[in-house]
Symmetry: C2
Subunit: 318 residues, 2 copies
Amino acid sequence: MNEFEIIDRYFAVDSGKRKDVLKGIGDDCALLKVPRGQRLAVSMDTLISGVHFLPETNAADVAHKAVAVNLSDLSAAGAEPAWITLSMTLPEYNEDWLESFHIGLKRIVNFFGVQVVGGDTCRGPLSITIQAHGFVPETVFHTRSGAQPGQLICVTGPIGDAALGLKVAQNELQVPPNVASQLLKKYFTPYPKIAAGIALRGRASAVIDISDGLLADVFHISESSNVGALLRWDKIPLSAAAQTIDDKILLKKAVLSGGDDYELCFTVNEDDLEATRHALETVGNECIPIGRLTGKSGVKILDNKQEMTFDELGYTHF
Amino acid sequence: MNEFEIIDRYFAVDSGKRKDVLKGIGDDCALLKVPRGQRLAVSMDTLISGVHFLPETNAADVAHKAVAVNLSDLSAAGAEPAWITLSMTLPEYNEDWLESFHIGLKRIVNFFGVQVVGGDTCRGPLSITIQAHGFVPETVFHTRSGAQPGQLICVTGPIGDAALGLKVAQNELQVPPNVASQLLKKYFTPYPKIAAGIALRGRASAVIDISDGLLADVFHISESSNVGALLRWDKIPLSAAAQTIDDKILLKKAVLSGGDDYELCFTVNEDDLEATRHALETVGNECIPIGRLTGKSGVKILDNKQEMTFDELGYTHF
């Protein structure tokens, strides 16, 4: 099989013929139509085997995660996903692996109604680069930089499960099977908060998806908006599964620095909290205040009125 | 330096503040405006060290080529380039290498007036994935699939120099310094035929950029358009440098299967040849007929009325 056949057979996933795709996979370029009155939001992320996912991860989950992390960036921008392009380097032609990848890709692409419009493949160490494209109305402008002192910092759901799931997958955390299953699911197949991102249009002053870790991502907002942040440990929502973890140091690290949760973290005026909560609940998400923005720079977190200290603020690659 | 600082310092290249970039590098998504009446053309290509470029290639040339091959896909679609996103995996943080990459990136991005609007970087074997974005008027629709029997097959300039340049770079071809310099330049720093692609709007029935090799790319048109092609070896334009090559077998392989030339190959009605030639010459390109489309499938090439045989039809990765 040559590269063109691989792209055609395994990547050309069409979620019911989007009318805005004038030309998809199979030519030098895809040709696409952005609806009038909408802006184009784009984001590109690379996942490398052994860095962003465990080498033994099944291929369907690799496909899921590669798409999910990119759609998650769109959710932070309040965008409605439309198209993805996919470039993959593969160590070898492995039909079973590619078939499984195809199944995972098709499932998530269909779930979100997006279409794969371009692809590239070549031989090399396993990695996947995806660019996601979505639409944002002209009037919406979510960024990380609009946060103001006094506003509340909120999240859309429980934090830390993905990082705990990674520990379970690596046999570094022993938990009962039902807990393991929940944590592993959050780590391997996260669902980006697209509906929440859209619900936050016109409400949130700053939005980010929690990919690097809660503290690191709050720090990104704080730095971009030139404000400080004071978080309360006891306010951060934990799932029922996370609450069963006895090792509290490991739990705190997972929640604060673990990353990979793909919940949204956003800032909102206190006066708008109830309306925002209602908008989020309407689409099945929570709206949980975990702290407040301050005029002083830096991110602090209080546990029982004591400031917590941490040696890492999330994961960076260099 | 962390990944965000690398992106900020080395990739955030802005060719004079494009007004259609509402939000560039530094947030979860870039936010972009496609002009009214224009379609979006996108293409993504990955370049891997040791596969798509020689590991010892200087970083400025790596940047140039990574951008060039992607803009070349846009040229085939008749698109006007606007933005690129760039994901790089790096084996280590090497300031000199990144500084050189930055210089090469800045030069080509400024030359074509495009802006880097998004980036990602992480640690791993050296590879670069770029997605190029351009605009195509609603009325233009270049593809590979519009070619009709009887039409002429043309190219925009000499073929084979890049493949010969690769042989020189690998010390597999000995030529005088002035010849070497011309061939190496075509291999390391090709300039995509953007103006030619735009000039072909409304004239060419099918267009492709010559990246895989002349025969392979004519075959792509032939297959997509469901037509055959008959090429004439003596009509294929060779540069003055290529004409000095004594080894005619090596020369033929370079010209027919070498790839990496990034000239355009297109098909056009014979009646439209002169107008097309004029349009291309106006923007400094040639219009050289090298064969004709036929009703029979497959690609054939005649050398002195004899059909040539070849064991490879261009390079594929699997």
